[in-house]
Subunit: 112 residues, 2 copies
């Protein structure tokens, strides 16, 4: 199991994936296809097999809620939105992200 840059970069992506997804959903209620599209626009590629379990976990943790909504072309969709608890949670992740940026800057500056 050798280490390569792609592997590690994908590890990095993992870490902040949840944060990005919650940021996106906080815009307005969205279903899976919408979310994937938004992520793609930001150059963050995520597949269904990653998203469905993640959304389920966030739902059962009280961070997201969903409503079924009919579609004009196909089966009904699950539209996810943040709960109040979810907004608070997102604020905490916001802090976490800012802290991480600081840590990296600290280490990099020491490096010069």
């Amino acid at each position: 199991m050798a280490i390569n840059a792609e592997n590690v970069k994908s590890q990095m992506r993992k870490g902040y994936l949840e944060y990005c997804i919650l940021l996106i959903i906080s815009q307005k209620p969205m279903y899976v296809s919408d979310i994937i599209t938004e992520l793609k626009e930001a150059h963050l590629i995520v597949v269904e097999g990653t998203l469905y379990p993640l959304l389920s976990r966030l739902k059962s943790s009280g961070i997201l809620a969903y409503q079924w909504q009919e579609s004009l072309q196909g089966p009904p969709r699950k539209y996810y939105e943040l709960t109040d608890e979810g907004r608070q949670f997102l604020a905490e992740l916001e802090e976490g992200w800012e802290e991480i940026k600081k840590v990296v800057e600290l280490i990099k500056n020491k490096n010069i």
Copy 2:
């Protein structure tokens, strides 16, 4: 397995741990205790059980090399340093990190 902020923040930390460790080692050859101290100073808590396997993986992937060095107080130490390949690898992670920052900014700006 409920989701909580601490859990997710720790996931975030995971992602860029390798990057920070390589940044630190790129300063000068270091052994495990040195590395943990440096990480602590940057407010990044990592334990031995995480570090040893990670350093082994990086070594067997050709990113790090080590030299035994005697200590004045205790058993000899393994001093790790970056190989040429390791410096190239670090440069790639640098790119990955910059890209991630951009992605988050993109999503956040859209959010306003």
